[in-house]
């Protein structure tokens, strides 16, 4: 079922302790900052978070990690120049890390949304990231077995939604949004704009509304991803 909610607080209110939460975005592009802030405020803890990175600077996911709310990160690139909160928790042994090559991460998320039981991928074969995993030679090439990665909740950002929940994205901010929407049991989307049903060309819909559960309109952040806090606006 699809709901249009008025505030990011309402949107995330159902997230329970111990949940696995996918968070869209690659760098700042496509990061649902306002939903992450609301997740911080709502108090849910013991979370497993799936994101390409493990937080940057002193915002968003980095703060969730600093506050000790993330039990485990599943990501491809935790260590960055400004990932100090993750670095500290990891070095202290206070956060678990499952490191996955970025393409395997994306494909595992897709597999969950697509109802597959797992797949063999050449990526990572013969490396330490295949340690302990099933391997198989297929057509003379080594492959690693990877399992689907699903989530209780996905927090993603899109450009525009219609009233059926169909989504379009903007440029490289699309990244993990479409596959996370399909892989999560409950998908919460922040959008810049909500348009009437029929206003999106059916040929150009990227995420059909079937994958979307909650939509909240958030304005106030510029596309160049400044640090201005956004505000949720009451939808029409």
């Amino acid at each position: 079922m699809l709901d249009f909610v008025d505030t990011v607080e309402t949107a995330v209110a159902g997230i329970k302790d111990g949940s696995t939460v996918m968070i869209g975005g690659f760098g700042n592009a496509g990061q649902p900052f306002e939903l992450i802030d609301a997740l911080l405020d709502c108090g849910a803890t013991d979370l497993t978070v799936v994101n390409n990175n493990a937080g940057q600077g002193d915002q968003g996911l980095a703060l969730l990690i600093r506050e000790g709310r993330v039990r485990k990160m599943i990501c491809s690139f935790p260590r960055q120049s400004d990932s100090w909160h993750f670095d500290a928790k990891y070095t202290a042994g206070e956060i678990e890390l499952e490191l996955v090559p970025q393409g395997n991460l994306a494909e595992r998320i897709r597999a969950a949304g697509a109802g597959l039981g797992g797949f063999f991928t050449p990526t990572g074969y013969g490396t330490m990231l295949a340690d302990g995993k099933e391997t198989r030679i297929i057509d003379g090439r080594g492959h690693v077995f990877e399992t689907p990665l699903s989530a209780d909740v996905a927090l993603i950002k899109a450009l525009t939604a219609d009233r059926k929940g169909n989504l379009v994205y903007r440029k490289t901010a699309r990244n993990f949004g479409p596959i996370m929407a399909a892989a999560a049991r409950h998908t919460i989307v922040q959008v810049s704009d909500i348009v009437p049903t029929g206003a999106l060309d059916p040929e150009t819909v990227v995420t059909p509304g079937i994958y979307v559960n909650s939509i909240v309109r958030v304005t106030g952040r510029t596309d160049s991803a400044g640090t201005t806090a956004g505000t949720a606006e009451k939808v029409a």
Partner: protein, 237 residues
């Protein structure tokens, strides 16, 4: 607020029918289609199989706001197209020209079947040769010697939707029950059917066996005489 589970579950209409009902007469195809339509929860995403299940679309109301999926790559399918509305690029899985409703979307075949296999469709309605007590489905192949097999999307539909409803006559022309202990026709899917709508009764199938929600023109006892698996009255949750 609690989030919807991805698991197979009974829809709201089950909650409304704690007692078994008995109608005066067997249901015709259209009445059966009307009953199925009324049982689909508002806002559902539904795939209607080719043949009898297609009739269900005639009885869906605007208030229900049901979104129809067709596995050849579309959500938001409208009614069959006629006359000038016919467009060769806009067909359903039965290759019949259809129309597009506002809010529709198109996607390629792998994305379409990912949607189905991933459990995102609430309900799929299919015809059947046989359904077993535990919900095994046989609806694609008679297994007759020399018959050319053709499966299409039948196995994907049976496996993918959260709830698989079957619509069929209870008995074959020869009078044999299509609800059976074990399917003798080649299987389409294992343990996938949750509900069977027939002219004589509505059944729930699953790991616990077969229960009866309501009968049409017969008592539960009379029904039991026709069906070779133990039947019990369904109770509310």
């Amino acid at each position: 607020m609690s989030f919807q589970s991805n698991e197979k579950s009974l829809t709201t209409s089950d909650i409304k029918r704690p007692d078994i009902k008995t109608a005066d007469a067997p249901l015709g195809r259209n009445d059966l289609a009307r009953l199925v339509a009324a049982d689909i929860a508002p806002g559902s995403f539904v795939n209607l199989g080719i043949g009898q299940p297609t009739l269900v679309s005639n009885y869906l109301t605007e208030e229900q706001d049901i979104t129809l999926h067709t596995e050849n790559g579309m959500l938001g399918m409208g009614p069959e197209a006629h006359g000038e509305d016919i467009d060769g690029d806009l067909i359903n899985a039965g290759k019949i020209p259809v129309t597009e409703l506002p809010g529709a979307s198109y996607f390629h075949h792998a994305d379409s079947f990912a949607m189905m296999r991933g459990g995102h469709l609430d309900i799929c309605v299919l015809g059947a040769f046989q359904v077993s007590a535990t919900g095994d489905l046989a609806n694609w192949h008679t297994g007759a010697p020399g018959a050319i097999p053709a499966v299409g999307g039948a196995m994907d539909l049976a496996t993918g939707a959260r709830d698989v409803f079957v619509m069929m006559t209870l008995l074959t022309r020869e009078g044999a029950s299509k609800i059976v202990e074990t399917c003798t026709y080649p299987l389409t899917g294992v343990g996938c059917v949750t509900r069977v709508y027939t002219d004589k009764a509505v059944f729930f199938t699953g790991p616990q066996g077969v229960t009866v929600r309501e009968t049409f023109g017969c008592t539960l006892e009379e029904l039991q005489d026709l069906v070779p698996v133990p039947l019990t009255a369904a109770v509310g949750p």
